[in-house]
Symmetry: C2
Subunit: 311 residues, 2 copies
């Protein structure tokens, strides 16, 4: 039976190919069983959905704004894109971590030979211990990368349930202890009511304690800006309580032009590009393909949104 | 029997610990069986060595300048440090490659939000093919890293003998074909008479051909500056024939302040720091420890210099 799918606000060549190969009919919303929403934000999203729409596929991995706005109802199945972009985002996190340890910001801004200045201070990732805070899909994707680079991993998650590949897993109640035990930390958790400002002054002090070779640890954030108290982070960087930060996400975004983070040579900033655009389109289409197949055969869809966990 | 070792021009705490644990006696050159030379260059090296010195351990991995100057004679065994620093240098090569693909130079120099400009142009290493030119110790150390990152490897070496982990290995005669087939390339070979200016205009054109998603490949050099025709590289970067370059080594070094490479936003420059200083001292001491053990038991030393191969 032909699936009837609405694609709004507009399709991509990747999605067109997927819909064609799934033999789906692209229809208007009033005829559709499923809606594929191809924008990352809610602007233009239909104010009410007809009852025939049984399933809505969103493009975002983090859906807190969708839940907060009350868009997501319990009359149909909603799926996010959690997991679809994890490999690329995990790669960016490792790139930022290496870039901070290897002092790429300082080097990229230099116009003279800084060897005397930096040969003694650049660091290797080999042999370091990295705390992954929020060991969901992105965090788990990072583990084989970090291990290949010779680093050890402490996973931090809500349940404390063992994460494969991590040297040990602790619950979020033991976050401060994990940060103190680790050299560096990567924030990879979802933005939920519980994780707002998870990283504040005390957590940064823990991360900066017991520095290896006199060089305190680095904080990476590729998750959401609101996991961090930005003022506390800026202060910890300014006072060199932590060794550096690699940041792809901010609160607010875009990071305002007058923000002091722009001027710091121990901060590597990327403008929310961990998930490169073309890869996003391609990976989103692959997820839609998989979920169309599951929908057609009546199986559970990937990345169904659980309103009780807000991700 | 106690080994008699001269350490010149000066020791380190790492070496002191190693000599002590090996029960070696630190002696003057006239009494020594072995000389450990702790400087990377030849300044101050004894103009002639007494016959009692049976073995000289150098600190450098690349010993072309030592061979060119005629220092290295055939009256005793000479060992280099080739291999001792490979893991850290391989890590730096991957960091530079990720940094170029993720446009860290442009981002590190920005003081405003560039997302509109760079979200469509940042690239992921996953799925790319990387040519490793000179699959010696550093090149081989890179392979598990690149594979963990989801990249494929074409190894290029003199013999064409299969390199473990590479999808395929070709001889240096097929260098241009390998560069054309790969997305990116990492130079990891020794500087020898045969490899001077190995990468010139034609090789850069091959590397830049058949770009994936309209973005031509990246060149990484963590080996020696003289493997590359710098003028041709600068031109290829300027004309965007290749997508970018991550460079830790230059010809000459230091890279002169007036060099145009400093100003390019598709170039990531580090000042010959791939092998961080503290790690170098630690890894060199480990090599000395291993070679003292081998010397004491009459076994073949690690990294014996072969004058016929000039590395």
């Amino acid at each position: 039976m032909t699936l009837r799918v609405a694609v709004l606000p507009n399709s991509t060549t990747y999605l067109d190919a997927v819909l064609k190969s799934a033999d789906a009919a692209v229809t208007s919303l009033d005829d559709a069983q499923a809606l594929v929403w191809t924008s990352s934000d809610q602007t233009g999203f239909p104010s009410s959905l007809p009852a025939n729409v049984e399933w809505v596929q969103l493009k975002s991995a983090g859906v807190k704004p969708w839940i907060d706005s009350g868009r997501i109802d319990s009359q149909r199945t909603w799926t996010s894109a959690v997991g679809a972009y994890s490999a690329d985002v995990a790669e960016h996190a490792v790139a930022l971590l290496l870039g901070c340890l290897r002092q790429f910001t300082l080097h990229a801004r230099a116009n003279t030979w800084l060897k005397e200045h930096t040969w003694g201070t650049v660091r290797s990732l080999r042999g370091r211990t990295v705390a992954i805070v929020g060991a969901g899909s992105i965090g788990r994707s990072m583990i084989p990368l970090l291990k290949a680079h010779g680093a050890e991993v402490i996973a931090v998650n809500r349940s404390g349930r063992e994460v494969e590949g991590a040297e040990r897993t602790v619950t979020s109640r033991d976050l401060d202890e994990a940060l103190a035990a680790a050299d560096d930390a990567v924030l990879a958790g979802a933005s939920t009511d519980e994780t707002q400002r998870l990283i504040g002054k005390e957590q940064l002090a823990a991360l900066g304690s017991d520095p290896r070779d006199g060089s305190p640890g680095v904080l990476i954030n590729i998750a959401r800006g609101d996991l961090v108290d930005t003022a506390a982070l800026t202060d910890a960087l300014h006072r060199r309580i932590i060794g550096g930060a690699g940041l792809d996400v901010f609160d607010p975004e875009p990071l305002p032009a007058e923000d002091p983070l722009w001027g710091m040579d121990n901060v590597l900033i990327t403008p929310h590009v961990a998930n490169p655009q073309n890869r996003m389109l391609e990976n989103f289409a692959s997820l839609v393909e998989e979920n169309l197949r599951r929908y057609a055969s009546g199986r559970t869809l990937k990345a169904e949104i659980d309103l009780h966990r807000s991700y």
